[in-house]
């Protein structure tokens, strides 16, 4: 089956100056993400995952190489691809409804309806007029996802989106995300340190090496949804990925 390439990370390199000279964070990184594909990237902490995501989403310029989206060089962030981060960025001074309306053009006639629909989609119906500080951590994440989806982005960039939540809430949000993605197919790039999360969600898991980051291994996850991370296939995959990360487990 032929899948159109959505994102092409092409020979990207990035370094930062430090006291002890230049620190190469990413070196000649090259991979493609297909249209509608869900790709998870895992790697040891401090390997430059967030730097990579900032480059792909257009917030940071690479030193060498480039990022192509639909074959066009991506130079700046835009609403075609929305970034969701661990800290979250729902505006605390706007209500949920106002946050959802934020990215929608004023002249769009159905913007109010869209905002209401997406609030409902993520289960925030009835909380539209609440301020973020009146919501729980999980609800805040839902608001952030809704705000991203309402502008109909083609790509979601997720950088440790659920890491600040407790384990139970994280799992719930993962299921929620899968439910939403079944309704509207987006291309998703997820960065995570949680291997089980990657296996649970992604079509493909890329393992990054230690600095400077390169693709060390790639695993296709062919298990059908809904997946059980405790299944033997998923566990075998988990062990294999962890081994790439330098963790050997005795089961």
């Amino acid at each position: 089956m032929f899948i159109k390439t959505k994102i092409h990370v092409k020979n990207v390199g990035k370094g930062f100056p430090t006291d002890k000279g230049r620190l190469e964070v990413i070196n000649d990184l090259d991979f493609k993400v297909g249209d509608g594909e869900f790709v998870a990237i895992v790697g040891p902490s401090g390997c430059g995952k967030t730097t990579l995501m900032n480059i792909i989403a257009g917030f940071l310029a690479p030193d060498s190489g480039g990022v192509l989206v639909d074959g066009q060089p991506r130079l700046q962030p835009n609403s075609k691809g929305i970034l969701i981060t661990q800290q979250g960025s729902v505006f605390p001074w706007l209500t949920v409804r106002q946050n959802l309306l934020f990215g929608l053009p004023e002249e769009l006639p159905e913007r109010e309806k869209l905002a209401a629909d997406y609030a409902e989609l993520v289960g925030l119906k009835g909380f539209e007029n609440n301020y973020p500080h009146e919501l729980s951590g999980g609800m805040l994440k839902r608001a952030e996802i809704a705000r991203a989806l309402v502008v109909k982005p083609e790509i979601l960039y997720m950088d440790e989106p659920f890491s600040a939540l407790d384990a139970l809430m994280s799992l719930r949000m993962q299921n929620e995300l899968l439910r939403i993605l079944q309704k509207e197919r987006h291309t998703v790039m997820l960065i995570t340190h949680d291997v089980e999360e990657a296996i649970h969600l992604a079509d493909r898991v890329l393992v990054l090496s230690h600095r400077p980051a390169r693709i060390q291994a790639s695993f296709d996850v062919t298990l059908p949804h809904p997946r059980r991370v405790s299944s033997p296939e998923a566990q075998a995959l988990r062990v294999a990925i962890l081994k790439e990360l330098g963790v050997t487990e005795t089961v």
Partner: protein, 252 residues
């Protein structure tokens, strides 16, 4: 009930201070320094004549005018300096030099420029309150968390919207803090300004009471009224902190 309980210790302290004051005046047999009761009767006398209200009104008018102009000036300027780096680099050093100059030092120039009418104290109040508000607003813009600016950038909204829905509301809590500080110093300065060559206001009332027959009961009354009105003004500014759009800053 809880409010009563919380303010109980400070009320006790106040009562002790008043009692000590009274006791000291009685024990030293002072003929000039008033007892608390003399202050109360003096105040009532002024209030009955209506003079007290005129003085309070005059002072509040000057503060309102000077502070109001300062707000209109400082908030746009502070936002601009916070957002545009060039404006900050150019103007900040000037304001940093002007800021530590006590408003009292401006009195001779104010009289020279504006005469001895209302314009002088209004100018002094403006000078006193404008700098803290500029500084707070600028700091407010500078301290907007990057994640919010990034999100706004990500959605690619027009500049006007970015300003109205991100920059301004994100800065608003700091603006309100600046206004609280600004109004505080405005009130501080009006009294000092009115001590010079004006025929009305609480500052004038204090100086006049002393000069016209050593009415120290009215001097002390003026001081206490200034304190109480200052407290009231701060209370009003604190109400702004309760607004829904800035509540996020204070809850955690």
């Amino acid at each position: 009930m809880k409010a009563v309980k919380n303010s109980l210790p400070s009320l006790v302290v106040l009562a002790v201070v008043v009692a000590l004051w009274w006791l000291t005046v009685v024990l030293t047999k002072s003929v000039i320094f008033p007892t608390p009761w003399q202050v109360v009767t003096g105040t009532l006398e002024l209030a009955r004549d209506g003079i007290l209200w005129e003085h309070i009104g005059a002072s509040l008018f000057r503060v309102g005018a000077g502070f109001g102009i300062a707000v209109l000036f400082a908030i746009p300027l502070g936002l601009w300096m916070g957002w545009v780096r060039g404006a900050f680099v150019t103007l900040n050093p000037v304001f940093q030099i002007l800021r530590p100059i006590s408003p009292i030092a401006w009195i001779p120039l104010a009289i020279l420029w504006f005469g001895v009418g209302n314009a002088s104290p209004i100018y002094l109040i403006f000078i006193a309150s404008v700098f803290p508000m500029i500084v707070q607003t600028t700091v407010g813009v500078h301290s907007i968390e990057k994640r919010y600016l990034r999100a706004a950038e990500n959605f690619g909204v027009p500049r006007r919207k970015l300003f109205m829905q991100v920059v301004f509301p994100a800065t608003l809590p700091q603006i309100i803090t600046g206004m609280r500080i600004g109004l505080g110093v405005a009130w501080l300065v009006v009294v000092a300004a009115e001590m010079i060559a004006l025929r009305s206001g609480l500052g004038y009332m204090i100086i006049d009471s002393r000069n016209a027959g050593n009415r120290y009961d009215l001097v002390v009354a003026g001081m206490i009224i200034i304190g109480l009105i200052g407290l009231l003004l701060d209370g009003l500014m604190r109400l702004l902190e309760g607004m829904k759009v800035v509540r996020w800053r204070y809850v955690h």
